[in-house]
């Protein structure tokens, strides 16, 4: 297992402009995996990437590449390459020369350069674009050139810093599939930075959720979604109802005013916990059959399902259901034991997972600010 680690970060700390960005961060990345650093803007994900690339030197800690300490190796001598947020193509060179740049630096012979560039252009579906001016390309095409340019020097690790952030939704979805394909075909390691949880879930082998310069959880997308470690992760990945609860015993949790059977164990007796229930895991039933009952306060049609907010004794639940429910109706909620996930209390407890102030409008607003901040993570 040990020899599969291509990159290892040990006890990394860094402050930029007087602000502590990363605190004692430890992370290892396996060879050939697609790993995503996921978190809100300012969480330190881009800084982590820049430390791996060599653009930033950590104040403390070490960076290993294939078991070799590369902490003091400058960027141009590292076997990693970066796809920058805004591509950073060289506007004075055409597509061919952009892709050939790294090869020319290595003084590779022209026929070989030509072969590699042609191969790379085919890989990113840009055959025939050799002579094109960078400024005449669309955002998606520039993105492809950036990928081709980085891959042309045959890196063992490709670092991608929110590469799809500037593209529109449709193009972003296409590029997600394409990037994943390229990664699998070439069999190299991708370290991908994003604040978009959907992107992370659909592309990654491993997700690293970060906040406040600290890694919150590392795991497969399914682990992260189903078994979030704390309220922050539960809230950041997908929608969650997070309730205050107490473990009465192994397999028995008490919340929302009653006891529920669950599948979690190993907590102390009567230990206060956070309880996560995903909106799609709650069944809407009649009042008589409900484990808890509440009043529907809002219903929003989402296409595939309805999103309803239910007030249960003052706590607002979000529930996704395919059956229509009338606003103001009183309904029962039914929760299977495997729909309940128990988390230890953390500093994030009580901050997330209540939908009492929730509205579509607020969600949209916060999305907008995300887009903006996502463009310029840490300085």
């Amino acid at each position: 297992m040990e020899k599969n680690r291509i990159i290892e970060l040990q006890n990394i700390s860094i402050a930029l402009g007087g602000e502590q960005i990363l605190k004692d961060l430890n992370l290892y990345i396996n060879d050939k995996e697609f790993i995503t650093l996921l978190g809100p803007s300012g969480c330190g994900k881009t800084t982590t990437l820049r430390i791996i690339a060599g653009f930033l030197a950590p104040d403390a800690g070490k960076v290993f590449f294939s078991g070799r300490d590369v902490t003091d190796v400058p960027p141009h001598k590292r076997q990693v390459n970066t796809i920058f947020q805004r591509y950073a193509l060289f506007p004075h060179l055409n597509v061919y020369e952009n892709i050939a740049f790294g090869l020319r630096v290595q003084k590779i012979k022209e026929p070989e350069i030509r072969a590699t560039v042609t191969e790379m252009l085919a890989l990113v579906n840009l055959k025939g674009f050799e002579k094109r001016n960078i400024n005449s390309l669309s955002g998606g095409q520039q993105q492809r050139v950036a990928i081709a340019r980085a891959l042309a020097v045959k890196p063992r690790v490709l670092l991608l810093d929110e590469p799809l952030g500037a593209l529109d939704l449709k193009l972003r979805k296409d590029m997600q599939v394409e990037l994943k394909n390229i990664q699998q075909r070439l069999g190299i390691t991708f370290v991908y930075v994003t604040h978009d949880q959907e992107e992370a879930l659909s592309m990654s082998d491993t997700i690293v959720v970060m906040d406040g310069g600290v890694i919150q959880q590392v795991g497969t997308p399914i682990d992260i979604y189903n078994e979030p470690k704390n309220a922050f992760v539960a809230d950041f990945i997908g929608e969650s109802n997070i309730l205050d609860g107490v473990m009465r015993d192994d397999l028995v949790a008490e919340f929302a005013g009653r006891r529920f059977d669950c599948l979690d164990k190993g907590f102390g007796k009567d230990e206060p916990v956070d309880v996560v229930i995903r909106p799609e895991d709650v069944d809407v039933v009649s009042v008589e059959k409900g484990m808890v009952c509440g009043d529907v306060t809002s219903v929003t049609f989402k296409g595939v399902h309805f999103e309803i907010i239910v007030d249960v004794d003052g706590f607002k639940w979000m529930i996704q259901t395919t059956d229509y429910v009338a606003p103001d109706a009183r309904i029962g909620l039914y929760i299977e034991p495997d729909a309940i996930h128990i988390m230890k209390k953390s500093k994030y407890s009580g901050l997330y997972g209540d939908y009492s102030t929730f509205s579509d409008e607020i969600e949209m607003l916060s999305d907008v600010t995300y887009e903006k901040e996502g463009g310029e993570d840490e300085p």
Partner: protein, 280 residues
């Protein structure tokens, strides 16, 4: 930043740092030193108090420079506005035409006016052609000639920045004002003028500073009769028509420098927009 990289950046800035320190900062410090010492190098406020003797010269210099600046502004604005409203191709040509005279050395441009204004110059010749008994205007040696020289030399410096800000005002802004009921005068007073303040301010500075400190224009067109602050400074340093005295010369320069700094600070206070309409 990477450690090596910041070293690289420090190395490339070093020649500049050294150069500017020796040839900009030290000279200014020396001017201050001379201004505050006497001929023997002892501290003395005598040079500063001596400035009172030149109060009249300061006043005339400032007056003439202000009048020239005002004339430039009044002359330049309509032209700049007209050019800014032309088709793009035409604008380029017109701006070229405005800048072309500036490519001539300003000594030559000023000298050319002597030919026109002299007692036996073109203007007087013209009038004498009509009336042989015409006594002739006395123009060279008057303050009017000095102001004319200033306006002529520095007018393009006023046109260009005003033109630049005016091109940035979109036609739709003016149309919006008209749409809201503003007439021509109101559009000008309430929209165009406030929006062109940054250009006016940089134009005023670019005209006023060389005008208030000139000594060539006053020498050539003022025929030595209109004595400006620049003439006095020149004399104290080169002693063409008097004794060399670096100390008083330095204190006069210091006052001139401070005066301009203060007036620019005041101007910038009015100009909240940081991106003033520069020349280039």
């Amino acid at each position: 930043m990477n450690r090596k990289d910041s070293l690289f950046k420090r190395v490339i800035t070093a020649p500049y740092t050294v150069w500017m320190a020796i040839f900009v900062v030290v000279p200014i410090a020396l001017v201050v030193y001379y201004a505050l010492t006497d001929a023997d190098g002892h501290f003395s406020a005598a040079n500063i108090t001596a400035i009172v003797d030149y109060g009249r010269t300061f006043r005339i210099s400032i007056e003439l420079a202000l009048v020239s600046t005002a004339i430039c502004l009044v002359m330049a604005y309509p032209l700049a506005y007209a050019i800014a409203r032309m088709k793009a191709r035409r604008q380029g040509t017109m701006i070229m035409l405005v800048m072309l005279p500036m490519w001539m050395n300003f000594l030559i441009r000023t000298y050319a006016w002597i030919a026109i204004l002299a007692d036996k110059g073109l203007i007087n010749s013209f009038f004498q052609l009509l009336n042989p008994d015409f006594p002739g205007f006395k123009m060279i040696g008057t303050r009017g000639a000095v102001v004319l020289g200033m306006v002529y030399n520095f007018l393009p410096y006023m046109i260009l920045p005003i033109y630049t800000v005016l091109t940035k005002i979109e036609q739709s802004t003016i149309e919006a004002a008209q749409d809201l009921g503003a007439n021509r005068a109101q559009v000008f007073r309430r929209v165009l003028l406030p929006m062109s303040v940054p250009g006016i301010i940089s134009g005023v500075t670019m005209v006023f500073v060389p005008a208030v400190s000139t000594f060539v224009i006053s020498k050539l067109l003022g025929a030595g009769k209109t004595y400006l602050i620049g003439d006095i400074i020149e004399n104290f340093f080169l002693g063409n028509t008097g004794t060399v005295n670096y100390n008083i010369g330095a204190s006069l320069s210091l006052v001139l420098m401070l005066m301009i700094l203060i007036s620019m600070a005041v101007m910038n206070h009015f100009d909240k927009d940081e991106s003033a309409g520069g020349m280039l």
